[in-house]
Subunit: 440 residues, 2 copies
C-alpha cells in the first residue's frame, strides 16, 4: 500500500486538518469550486462498465489487425496514456520485440518533421488511429488527424479507414462526434465532468493503455483501492491529506518549486503527467509551486549541483518504487582496478537504495525538504494507486491553496493569439492588432 513519509521535511500538517476536512467534503460531495469537474473522484467505482468492455474489445481488434496505433491528442489526451505505458512497459516500448502494436503519439505539437517521422516509421505497416479530442477542433490534434485520416483512406479506402479510426470525444456534441457519427467510427466518451488532466482512467487513457497489453483490471483495482483509502477523512490514515498539507505548508514557508524525482528512467513521462496535473491545477492567480522533475541518479550529475547548493526555494518529492523485476548482481573482477569489488555480488536494487538514502540525507542537509512516496513494485495495480493518489491530493491541494483546481483559464491565451495570427475566420481584427505588435 502506498505510503507517504514526511519525516525528512519540516512540514507541519496538523494546522491543515480543518481546511483538509472542508476540501475533502467539497470533493466528496461536489460542492466546491469547479465541482462540475469532479467526476474523476468516484470514477474507479462508477466508470461505464459497458464502455470498458468495448475498450478491451477494441484493443484486441487493434492488436490483431495493426502493427501500429497512432494516438492523436495533446495535454491530458496524451500524457496519461504515455505516462502509464512507459512506466509499466518501458520508455523503449516501441523498440522492444513484442506481440502488441507500436504506439506513436501524434498531434501533440506542430513539428512537421516529427509528423513525417511517424509516417516513415509506420511505412507500409497496417495501422489504426485513436483520435482523442473533446471538441474535435483543438488545432494540434485536429491538424494531425487530417493527415492520418487522409493516409488511412488512401491505404484502406473510406470504409476500410472508418474501421480503423477510434474516436474518443464528447458523448453527444462537437466536430469529432459529428464526424464519428457520420462516418461510423467506433467512439468513446470524454466525460463532461472529468477534465483532461484527470482523464487517464477514462477511455482517453484506457484505450491506448489496453492496446499496449497492460492489465486494465489491475490498473482500475489499484485506483479503486486508493479511492477507498482517500475517502477516509483524517491525517493519519489518508496519504493524500498528508501530501496535500505538506506541500501547502512548505509553500507557505516560502518554497516555490517542487521537484518530482524517481530513480527509474521509465518514470520520465509519469513525471510529465504529474507536472500537468499540479501545474495546471494550481498555477493560477500568481500562485502555486512550480512543478519540475528529475530522473535520478542521472540528474544528480546535472541538476544535482543546483539542488544541493542553488537558491534555497525548492522541495523534493521522491517516488520510491519497490524491488525491480531484474536481479542483476555486480560481477566480481580480479584486478579490481575500479575499486568496486566491495560491491561484487550485491544487486542493483541494493545499490540504488543506498543512493536514494545518501541523496536524501545530502539534500535535506542542503536545505531541501524531502517528501517520500513509497509506491511499491512497479505494476498496473500500484500505478493505479499512484494515479488516484496524486489526483486526489491535487484536488485537495488546490483547495488548500485557495484556487479552483479544475479550470485552466491561462491555456486560452496562446490559442486565441495563434488563431488570430493564423487568420481564423472571426479573428481578423485581433490578427491585425497582433501583427502590429510583432512589427509585421
Amino acid at each position: 500500500m502506498l505510503q507517504v513519509n514526511l519525516s525528512s521535511s519540516s512540514a507541519r500538517v496538523e494546522p491543515f486538518a480543518e481546511s483538509l476536512a472542508q476540501a475533502h467534503t467539497w470533493l466528496q460531495e461536489a460542492t466546491g469550486r469547479g465541482s462540475d469537474f469532479v467526476g474523476w473522484v468516484n470514477l474507479p467505482r462508477d466508470y461505464d462498465k459497458a464502455e470498458y468492455a468495448r475498450i478491451q474489445a477494441a484493443a484486441r481488434k487493434i492488436q490483431s489487425d495493426s502493427k501500429a496505433l497512432v494516438v492523436i491528442g495533446i495535454g491530458g489526451s496524451y500524457l496519461g496514456a504515455r505516462a502509464v505505458i512507459e512506466l509499466l512497459e518501458s520508455n523503449n516500448y516501441n523498440l522492444r520485440k513484442k506481440n502488441t502494436p507500436n504506439i506513436y503519439f501524434a498531434g501533440n505539437g506542430l513539428s512537421g518533421d516529427a509528423m513525417q517521422e511517424i509516417f516513415d516509421l509506420i511505412g507500409d505497416d497496417d495501422f489504426s488511429v485513436n483520435v482523442i479530442s473533446k471538441s474535435g477542433t483543438t488545432t494540434e490534434p485536429a491538424v494531425a488527424f487530417r493527415f492520418f485520416k487522409a493516409r488511412l483512406e488512401e491505404k484502406y479506402g473510406k470504409a476500410g479507414a472508418a474501421e480503423r479510426i477510434y474516436a474518443t470525444t464528447d458523448k453527444a456534441r462537437g466536430a469529432l462526434k459529428s464526424l464519428a457519427n457520420a462516418e461510423g467510427y467506433d467512439s468513446y466518451v470524454v466525460p463532461d465532468n472529468v477534465g483532461g488532466r484527470f482523464s487517464v482512467l477514462t477511455a482517453v487513457g484506457l484505450l491506448p493503455i489496453a492496446v499496449a497489453g497492460i492489465d486494465l483490471d489491475e490498473l482500475m483495482r489499484g485506483a479503486a483501492d486508493m479511492m477507498e483509502t482517500c475517502r477516509r477523512p483524517g491525517l493519519e490514515s489518508n496519504p493524500a491529506w498528508q501530501y496535500a498539507a505538506a506541500r501547502n505548508d512548505l509553500y507557505g514557508q516560502g518554497k516555490k518549486v517542487e521537484i518530482l524525482a524517481a530513480y527509474e528512467p521509465r518514470a520520465r513521462f509519469f513525471a510529465e503527467w504529474w507536472k500537468q496535473l499540479y501545474g495546471e491545477s494550481e498555477g493560477k492567480e500568481g500562485k502555486g509551486l512550480l512543478p519540475a522533475s528529475v530522473e535520478f541518479t542521472a540528474d544528480l550529475h546535472s541538476m544535482g549541483q543546483y539542488i544541493q547548493q542553488g537558491e534555497r526555494t525548492m522541495i523534493e518529492t521522491v517516488i520510491r518504487f519497490g524491488k525491480s523485476a531484474s536481479h542483476l548482481c555486480v560481477p566480481h573482477d580480479d584486478a579490481d582496478g575500479d575499486g568496486l569489488n566491495f560491491l561484487a555480488g550485491k544487486d542493483m536494487d541494493f545499490i540504488a537504495t543506498q543512493a536514494m538514502d545518501g541523496t536524501l540525507l545530502a539534500h535535506v542537509e542542503g536545505g531541501v525538504p524531502n517528501l517520500i512516496i513509497h509506491a511499491g513494485e512497479i505494476n498496473a495495480y500500484t500505478c493505479g494507486e499512484l494515479i488516484y493518489f496524486f489526483e486526489y491530493a491535487c484536488g485537495l491541494s488546490g483547495y488548500l491553496l485557495g484556487v479552483n483546481p479544475f479550470d485552466q483559464p491561462g491555456v486560452e491565451a496562446y490559442k486565441k493569439n495563434m488563431f488570430a495570427l493564423l487568420g481564423k475566420p472571426g479573428y481578423e481584427d485581433m490578427g491585425a492588432a497582433l501583427r502590429a505588435k510583432l512589427g509585421r
Copy 2:
C-alpha cells in the same frame, strides 16, 4: 548566423558592459576563477587533430562491425552526445531503419531494469562499448562497465572484447586509463582542462556522435565560427554577451527560474544538456536561475497554465529553429467539420511560426520576459554554433553572477553518503553515523 533577440524582455544589458568585458578577458586569457577548466574556450580551433582522425576511424570500424554501441557515462559524459544525436538525427534514432548502429546509453543511473532492458534490446547482435569516465571509478558507469565488459568477454573472448571497447578517459592516470593500457583498449582523452559539462566537442561527445553518422566537420565548423563570433568583445556583436547579460539582469530583477523552450520534440535532450550546463555552473552559494525546460506546443497544454498565470518568477528562453526538412501541407477536407479549412494548403512551419508568435505575445503579456535565440535550420553546423554559444554565454554568466562557473562542489555530497552507505572501505565511521540518522 545565430542571433539573440531581447526585445520581448525587459532586460537592460548595457549596465553589464564593464563586467562582461572583465569576464570576457577572464575566459580569453584564462585568468578568472576556475581558469584551470577553460580548455573548451579555444577547443574548436585547438582540438587534437590526430585524435579527431582516430575518432572518425573508430566510428567507421564500429559502424562496420557492430549493430549497437553502448555508451557508458553519466552527466557530461552522457548528455552532450545524446543531445546532439537526438537533435540532429531524432529522438527515435534507434527506431529508424538506418545503416548506422543503434546507440544505447547506459551507466547513467542505477536501475537494474533499465540495464536488463539494454541487454534484451541488444540480444545476439554484435555490439561495441564506449566507456567514458575521467577517473574510471564513478559508481554508475563503473558498475555498468563491469556488466558490459563481462558480456563482451563472454561473447568475443578477452582479446575480441578488447577490440570492441573504446575508453574515453584521462590521458595518463586513473583506473580506466590503467585498464585500457593493460588490456589494449583503443583510448581517447578527456582533457584535464575541460569539465564534463563542457566536453561535448571532445572525444567524450564526438565518438558516439560520429557513430550515429553525424558530420563532425560541420559540427566543429559551426562551433569554430561561433568561437570567432564570441571572441569579439562588445554587446552589439556578441550574442553570448547579450544572453549572459539579459539573464543576469532579469535574475537581479527577482526572476528565479529560466525555462528553455523549443518547438521540436527532438530538442528535449538538448534542453537536458543545457540544464546541466547552467544549473551546475551557476547553482551554488545559494544563487542561480533554476533551469527548467518545456517542449512546445505539447507543454502549452500542461505547463502552459502555470507559465501564463502561476508565480511570476520565471523567464523563458526560446530556441527558434528555421525551416523544417519536411514540407507537409494541411489537407483540404470538403466537410470541414473541424473548421480548419482556413489552414488547408498551409505548411506546418507556417502554423508553428504563428504558434510561436502567439505564445510569445501571450507569455510576455502574462509577465514572462522572453529571450529568443534564432538558431537557423537544424543541422550539424547550427548545432555546433548553438553548443558553443551556450557554453561561452555560460562562462560569462557565471562570472557575472559572482561564482566559479567551473566547479561543482555540491555534486560530491550524495556520492560520499552513498559510498558510506554502500560500505566502501575507508567510509566505515561515516556509514555508521548515516545509518543512525536513517534509523537503521
